[in-house]
Amino acid sequence: MNTIYAVMDALLPVEAMQFTFMKHALLAILLLTPLLGLLGTMAVNQQMAFFSDALGHSALTGIGLGIILGVGSDLVSMLVFGILWAALIILIRHRAQTSADTVISVCSSTSVAAGLLILSRGGGFAKYSSLLIGDVLAVGQEDLLYLLLALIGGVILWCYMYNALLLTGINASLARSRGIHTILVETAFAILVAVAVMLSIRWVGVMLINALLILPAAAGRNVARSTRQHAFFSVIFAVMSGVMGLFSSYLWDTSAGAAIVLYAAAIYAVTLLIRRTRR
């Protein structure tokens, strides 16, 4: 770890980087944003923005249920609940006769309400409020290890399922005729998104996590013509907003998550203009 710190000191001789918490925060962002950028491309293409939003909100319920069931770690509760929740929503999407939007909305509000009810018992919600806006400056060494493992595992899985997922997104019948188990692929993707979201939520916050997943990918889509360009732009935009947001929040003394998402929104606005002028 000391070697990494030394490299960072050499590469970034700025005041903010003197602090270990800033180094950790930067590393966390460099590990998280590429994964979210990649996963975002498909979440946007599959029109799953609302789904991932509901997923983010379910973190509260996960923690709440974890407390009731006596699970020691918030992260474990969030992950387990997030995975189950993702699989359930995919199942409902396939079964539901009504619009998937309505179903997801109903599930989302119910889970938020249930989570708040449990966590606010006895007026104790204040200690969970950091979960809403996140705190990337609190990342520790052990967390970085989790994030690194998530990035490696996530990218491997992502490569493995990407083609099948792309075909499923274009036409499910066609995908099935080519031997793809479409429900399995969609569920695996939803679970991968759930894991990435749950691992990021403590640092970015329930309110903003979905923006970080969707905005860079949506911006990338505005300027890309192929899947390769889409992945490239989405990752670049995610990392750029992450790094710029972190340093700005240090200078402005504000929440990092909010600054990151605002940069992502600004990039989205610029790409939208580029797209308009191209036409």
């Binding site: 491309t41 490569c159 990407y162 083609n163 792309l166 036409n171 080519r178 889509r221």
Partner: protein, 281 residues
Amino acid sequence: MAGYRQCTLCRIDLKNVSVTRAGQEVLRDVNMHIHCGQLTAVIGQNGAGKTTLVRALLGEIPYGGTIRHEDGHGHPFPRLRTGYVPQHLQFDKEMPVTVEDFMAAALSRRPVWTGIGRKTRKTIEEALSVVKGEDLLRTPLGRCSGGELQRVLLALALTPNPDLLVLDEPVSGVDQNGLNLFLDTVMELKHTRHMAILLVSHDLNLVRDYADHVVLLEKTVLRQGTPGLVFASEVFRDVFGDMTFGDKKLLFEDEPLNKSVHVHGESHADPCCAQEEGEQA
């Protein structure tokens, strides 16, 4: 194009195939077969169960009865390779996916966002050249016209060479030029690759001109045989009314474009596997 194989599949036999969905009977005791080297057309009103039949054939939904794939010697044919051209492809037109990306996703394991290998690109180029779509390689999928999209889908369905080609209303929303190009390619394939082709279509003119065997479906098979036989039947008139087909005659006094060997009541003169052809009233 990947090497042409002699048709190893001979026929697909459907015996008493039934499908019930949400308590409603969609198909009942469907008995028919699909033969290699022939274009079999399924016609019927909306809701007659045409698409359900295709989905059962593709193994997408559970069904009662049996669907057997046989080789030229009547032995079971274990792995049927199906090429499927879906009905009008509905997808997000703004998706940044090129024709090349789309085809590579289906043909290669390498994730397409990391690039496309040389071998895969060559396969795609060859597949597109069969449908005269070489220039579409880098076109975003959403910018393709209806006809172009159908040709891309056909190119993909033909790679690797399928035993059965399923065309589900493949020409709805395609202009006349695109339609002719598409059908000419299909007919050429039928002859050169001796493929079994199943066409689901509303367009009775098209069925009349191109099909070797027609199946009139309304939950079950009402009538099957040559287009001439089926179109002249009483039950056909009950389903579709008295149709005159524009300036074309209903019966086959003028021979259709591609009449092959299938004649009602006679044995099949197919070189690869002679079979008895039964007609069902």
